[in-house]
Chain length 95, copies 2
């Protein structure tokens, strides 16, 4: 579908993409984490897209099996080229 | 208002009341915590009340200043009489 192509394009063109909802604390925590690590994600707030929000959430479920937010896509190669992979990995090692 | 009286009555008649939303992870964590402590809260899922949900959320904000979920009410006297205050306090001390 056109919406599915849009999502695939978004995810392939950006090193980090976070599908989020503005009022969701779990989503806020993920956005804050990336900020703290100096990584700038593309944030897509599903609750600010009107009727398209639930549709995108359905597409994400088709593509990833996950129907919840936050839904995070990380392109490690792109991140590495931006020099931002190290901070993400060290954070993962700390946890 | 009638809705405000209903909320006040609910809170006064139950040792623990959690105003929650079914799809909210923060709300789930609070409900799980009480379960783990052997405390049985009255859970009110605001997203399962149709149009009344947002209205109750507004009433809670008027009464408590808090507009978010989970919104938790604990009557320590009632809890103590049920013998459940100890576990709650020891959990608070551990944190
Ligand atoms: N364990 C998952 C929990 C994800 C989850 O349950 N997300 C909730 C919001 S906190 C959700 O998407 N609920 C359904 C919805 O909002 O459509 C995680 O850490 O991401
Ligand atoms: N720090 C607060 C966060 C509360 C919060 O932001 N709750 C969100 C859901 S996770 C909320 O109620 N957002 C507005 C709404 O859902 O109406 C807490 O720990 O309770
Ligand atoms: S944590 Fe509350 S909606 Fe996600």
């Amino acid at each position: 579908s056109r919406l599915e192509d849009t999502v695939k394009k978004t995810v392939s063109e950006n090193p980090v993409v976070v599908y989020s909802k503005t009022w969701c604390s779990y989503s806020s925590e993920v956005k804050t984490l990336f900020k703290r690590l100096g990584v700038e994600p593309l944030v897509i707030e599903l609750d600010e897209m009107g009727a398209q929000g639930p549709q995108v959430q359905k597409v994400l479920e088709r593509l990833t099996g996950q129907h919840t937010v936050p839904n995070v896509f990380i392109d490690t190669v792109k991140l590495h080229r931006k020099g931002e992979l190290e901070s993400l990995l060290s954070e993962a090692n700390i946890k």
